[in-house]
């Protein structure tokens, strides 16, 4: 690979700064006492402590999954800090009470916390290390019955809803990392859209890991009641540390009859340096349950960060005529490894699913699509369409596809398309010879390759995603 191409791909990470803020963290390591202490600090009800302890005991019996196409040294779970929060902790009545240092951090990241400054009308919940810092537009949303708050607040103010739905989509023993999360999760976002309500603004959570050596284990729960709809956005960044940090989140979505949830992520966790030192291990369980008839859940993700990504946002299509969608762009550069995809589980009749996955590999990275389309015996008339495209930039990267199709009903219609293309020096020279510089060429190629996914992102996110991919790839071609 020529230097021109390399320089283009290798842009430095812009969010790698550390905020100098006093944090309160428990000692590293995990045992039942740590879990009891987290629960106590958060003044949780007894049933939630039980939920955590059950998950922890189950986790102890589980093995770390090794089937993914990624490799990394064994994680020492006793070396992780399981709880860190900015100090001092007190109830914030308004945005103005947010620690100015914290506020500056988010301003630097381009996340405005002042409600009057939020031009686009997006309500934001901000999670700094393990704790929700603030949620904007809360009062306004409450007027129409929408609950949008931190997970901790939801536990206190709406325990019946949390108790009813927590773990109903991703059971506490679902997998190794989901069990770990269920034991030690510290905060996250909670969102409830009541019957017949169309959420008037996009809801957004912004995650930031700041403390070195800490893990982030957040929990997001979104419930859309009958006939309601919501569009949810998630963004993530982290400082640049030489050590790896673990991010093991669980996201659960529940859509009742005729409800519609659209969940979009732009993930830009620190990916480590070009030799693979440092970076986030992003081991996340995201699943949506289309519980009601005609319900719809749509995942859109743009994955650009993390040293390792292990993530399969999935849909369980339980209600008849329900729809699941997965639109994904995963970009890996340098030494990054991504094993990502989706599961579409067709249970109800006439359920439909659509998978569009675009993997871009550059540098010496490895990028895998892993997917499961499962049609149960009762899922008469189920339909799936999958398209998995890979693009290789340069000649030292790797792309793999692992699609699994399991059909137990003969009336199902399944389509799968796949392609692999390569961008190298010859393509870049062709663009140059037509007068088009490398940055514009890359952005044109990426936009062309990803347009089927980008059209599903909200406008601001689409712009951000395009810019982000361009930056990530600067210097990688040529």
């Amino acid at each position: 690979m020529s230097t021109a191409l390399q320089n283009l791909v290798n842009q430095p990470y812009k969010h790698g700064f550390v905020t100098d803020i006093e944090t309160e963290a428990v000692a590293k390591g995990l045992n039942e006492d740590v879990i009891r202490m987290i629960s106590k600090k958060k003044e949780e009800p007894e049933w939630l402590l039980e939920f955590r302890l059950n998950a922890y005991r189950h986790w102890l019996t589980m093995e770390e999954p090794e089937w993914a196409n990624v490799s990394y040294p064994k994680i020492d779970f006793q070396e992780i800090i399981y709880f860190a929060q900015p100090k001092p902790k007190k109830k914030l009545a308004s945005m103005d009470e947010v620690d100015p240092e914290l506020r500056r951090t988010f301003e630097k990241l381009g996340v405005p916390l002042h409600e009057q400054k939020l031009m686009t009308g997006v309500a934001v919940d901000v999670i700094f290390d393990s704790v929700s810092v603030t949620t904007t537009y809360k009062a306004k949303l409450a007027e129409i019955g929408i609950i949008f708050c931190s997970f901790s607040e939801a536990v206190h103010d709406h325990p019946e809803l949390v108790k009813q739905y927590l773990g109903s989509v991703v059971p506490s023993g679902d997998n190794f990392y989901a069990a770990l999360n269920s034991a030690v999760f510290t905060d996250g976002s909670f969102c409830f859209i009541p019957k017949g309500t169309k959420c008037p603004m996009d809801l957004s959570t912004y995650f930031r890991i700041n403390t070195e050596g800490s893990g982030q284990f957040e929990r997001t729960l979104i419930i859309a009641e009958e006939g309601s709809s919501v569009c949810y956005l998630e963004g993530c960044t982290a400082p640049q540390f030489d050590t790896n940090q673990l991010h093991a989140a669980v996201v659960e979505l529940v859509a009742l009859d005729n409800a519609d949830i659209k969940y979009s992520t732009v993930q830009n966790w620190y990916a480590g340096d070009e030799n693979g030192k440092g970076g986030i291990y992003n081991f996340v369980t995201k699943r949506g349950l289309c519980k009601g008839v005609n319900s719809k859940i749509s995942w859109t993700q743009v994955e650009t960060g993390s040293a390792i990504t292990w993530k399969y946002p999935s849909c369980v299509l339980l209600g008849d005529n329900s729809t699941g969608e997965f639109y994904s762009v995963a970009l890996t550069n340098h030494m990054q490894q991504a094993d990502t995809g989706t599961k579409m589980i067709h249970v109800g009749k006439n359920t439909r699913s659509k998978i569009i996955s675009k993997g871009i590999s550059a540098g010496r990275s490895s990028n895998s699509y892993r997917g499961l389309v499962k049609v149960g015996s009762r899922a008469t008339g189920a339909r799936n369409y999958s398209q998995c495209d890979s693009m290789l930039i340069g000649d030292r990267c790797e792309a793999s596809t692992f699609p699994t199709i399991d059909v137990q009903n003969t009336t199902a219609t399944i389509e799968h398309e796949a392609s692999t293309s390569k961008i190298g020096e010859d393509q870049m020279f062709f663009f140059a010879q037509r007068g088009i510089g490398s940055e514009e060429a890359i952005s044109m190629i990426i936009n062309g390759f990803c347009k089927d996914v980008f059209v599903h992102l909200p406008m601001e996110f689409a712009v951000e995603a395009t810019k982000l991919l361009g930056l990530k790839l600067e210097g990688s071609v040529g």
């Binding site: 020279f429 140059a432 037509r434 040529g478």
Partner: protein
């Protein structure tokens, strides 16, 4: 058409270049004036294609000596995209496929980049569509090709026609056609040649790199150069090509 008084577009002197440490060009001299058509012929490995790539700045090749001036400016002080914007065009021997990028989007970006370079207004998609609908007639291309990804799934002939379409849109001062005739059937060859002839004026010039005399029946050269072992060993008129057709290259190689 030869007009000794017309402007010199390209002046190459004693050009030497190597790829991966191996010297391929060993002192090439060539002068191209506006209005002229040149053919560079020679056997495989004689340096013809290398010459076209060195002039347009392919990163695999390193210039090790000599000079090349384009309209009086040192060509090698400019990046490949700057050379293109200055009016130098290469029709590729093996056009690459660009998945996901439509032909029309590529053409419009390339065209508008040039417009900006020349201090002219960019065209919006509708205005550009008017322009492109005219241009595709030059190469007798179906408009459906505009919406398809660049060269993806195109036949060999369609790819070459697509190169000439790009040339028609960008209207270069100097077009280098690198074995544009290879792999073309007789109909495609006629269409490509007609396209090139339509675009020729007294202000621009064409350099054709080719193995065969066949193309020269359709695009008639003012000069025929024979390249061998990295040098131009013989220059003549169009009749030289006929002589090569009849006698082969060996007599010239021996003479050199």
């Amino acid at each position: 058409m030869i007009n000794k008084g017309s402007k010199v577009l390209l002046e190459v002197k004693n050009l030497r270049a190597e790829v991966a440490g191996v010297e391929i060009l060993k002192g090439v001299d060539l002068t191209v004036r506006a209005g002229e058509v040149h053919a560079i012929m020679g056997i495989n490995g004689s340096g013809k294609s290398t010459f076209s790539k060195v002039l347009t700045g392919h990163p695999d090749y390193t210039v090790t000596g000599g000079s090349a001036m384009f309209e009086g400016k040192d060509l090698f002080s400019f990046a490949p995209e700057e050379r293109a914007r200055a009016g130098m065009f290469l029709a590729f021997q093996y056009p690459v496929e660009i998945p996901g990028v439509s032909n029309s989007a590529l053409l419009r970006l390339a065209y508008n980049t040039l417009q900006t370079e020349r201090g002219l207004e960019e065209l919006d998609p509708l205005e550009f569509d008017d322009l492109i609908q005219e241009k595709i007639k030059v190469v007798e291309m179906d408009p459906s090709f505009l919406g398809r990804s660049v060269n993806e799934g195109f036949s060999g002939g369609e790819k070459k026609r697509n190169e000439i379409l790009q040339m028609a849109v960008l209207e270069p001062k100097l077009a280098i056609l690198d074995e544009t005739d290879s792999g073309l059937d007789i109909d495609a060859l006629r269409i490509v040649a007609k396209g090139v002839n339509t675009l020729l004026t007294s202000d621009n010039a064409v350099v054709m790199v080719t193995h065969y005399q066949r193309l020269l029946n359709y695009i008639v050269p003012d000069y025929v150069h024979v390249m061998d072992a990295g040098r131009i060993v013989r220059t003549g008129g169009k009749e030289l090509a006929l002589e090569l057709e009849a006698r082969g290259y060996d007599w010239l190689r021996a003479a050199a």
